[in-house]
């Protein structure tokens, strides 16, 4: 138990940050596909807004910016977390 708590887990945690972030990014991007089966997500709202306003360029650019902002923040946060973990636990890598 102590081995797990002090040796294995910290390293496991540190090393899984980047791939987990990657997985999160992929999943959130894939979630836009829900709009095809009419789940009311961001992509659906964007498509409806395009139909109402007839301004596809503006609406879809804004949508892209929203997705970009969320995912860019998430990956920056993940890099920050990685650095912080490395600082707190100097032996993880």
């Amino acid at each position: 138990m102590q081995v797990w708590r002090y040796i294995v887990f910290p390293q496991l945690f540190y090393r899984s940050i980047p791939p987990l972030t990657n997985e999160f990014t992929m999943l959130l991007k894939a979630s836009s596909l829900m709009s095809i089966i009419a789940v009311h997500d961001l992509a659906t709202v964007a498509r409806d807004a395009t139909l109402q306003t007839n301004l596809p360029l503006q609406v879809f650019s804004a949508t892209a910016v929203v997705y970009f902002a969320i995912l860019f923040l998430a990956s920056s946060a993940s890099r920050g977390l990685e650095r912080r973990v490395a600082k707190v636990l100097p032996n993880v890598h």
């Binding site: 990014t25 959130l28 991007k29 894939a30 979630s31 836009s32 596909l33 709009s35 095809i36 992509a43 964007a46 498509r47 395009t50 301004l55 596809p56 360029l57 879809f60 650019s61 949508t63 892209a64 997705y67 970009f68 995912l71 860019f72 990956s75």
Partner: protein
């Protein structure tokens, strides 16, 4: 419930017609993307800040914006600024754009996997810059590139199903037409999934073969 094999049989031909379009998009788009990604990778390693930043922005856009939104943006948005392209051309361009962003990152990781001293050692042996690339760098990174590029190609092949939203008559679009006609969702979508799976497996086998070929020097 039972599966109507008659529907499966009659849907195979239209689905294969769709697969042809899917294949055309991928065969044109993915290699184009690899070229684009290579250029972007050289930009990212450039000493010019403008080139470095623009390549970084490109890669971050590809990584952080869903493919679907990109397709919507180019299909519905581009005509508004006077760039009207047929769905097929947009399909090829979107595939190339996306492949390029990911390939740039793959290439960067591949160069990173190479021990830094190797290029310097090769240079000090009197090889020219091009010779270093040709005889030292490329042979070694091909083994690294092959599996990563195979995954990327399979990912883009599967992502091409998104083009059905812009009425490109590819595999998923044909499948949607058939389900609208027959309401036989299990049969038609099952067959479609099987076709995608089979092609992905074939791509994977080709990738493994090319990896073995690219790393033959390690076993020599």
């Amino acid at each position: 419930m039972s599966i109507d094999l008659g529907i499966v049989e009659s849907s195979i031909l239209p689905l294969l017609k769709g697969l042809k379009v899917t294949a055309q998009v991928c065969v044109l788009g993915i290699p184009l993307g690899i070229v684009l990604g290579t250029i972007a990778a050289y930009f990212r390693a450039s000493s010019w800040r403008v080139l470095r930043t623009s390549a970084l922005v490109y890669v971050e856009i590809v990584r952080n914006v869903p493919f679907l939104i990109l397709v919507y943006l180019s299909f519905f948005g581009l005509p508004k600024i006077g760039v009207a392209m047929p769905a097929f051309a947009i399909g090829v361009a979107a595939t190339a754009f996306y492949t390029g962003g990911y390939f740039c990152e793959i290439l960067r990781a591949a160069f990173g996997s190479l021990a830094h001293g190797q290029v310097q050692a090769a240079r000090s042996l009197g090889l020219t810059g091009l010779q270093v690339q040709r005889h030292v760098v490329l042979p070694q990174i091909f083994g690294y590139l092959a599996p990563a590029t195979t995954s990327l190609a399979i990912m883009m092949f599967k992502d091409s199903s998104i083009f059905s939203v812009m009425s490109l008559t590819e595999l998923t679009y044909q499948s949607n037409l058939l389900t609208a006609d027959t309401f036989a969702y299990v049969e038609v979508l099952g067959t479609t999934a099987l076709i995608y799976w089979l092609c992905s497996v074939l791509l994977d086998i080709a990738g493994q073969w090319s990896e073995r070929y690219a790393t033959r020097y390690r076993r020599a």
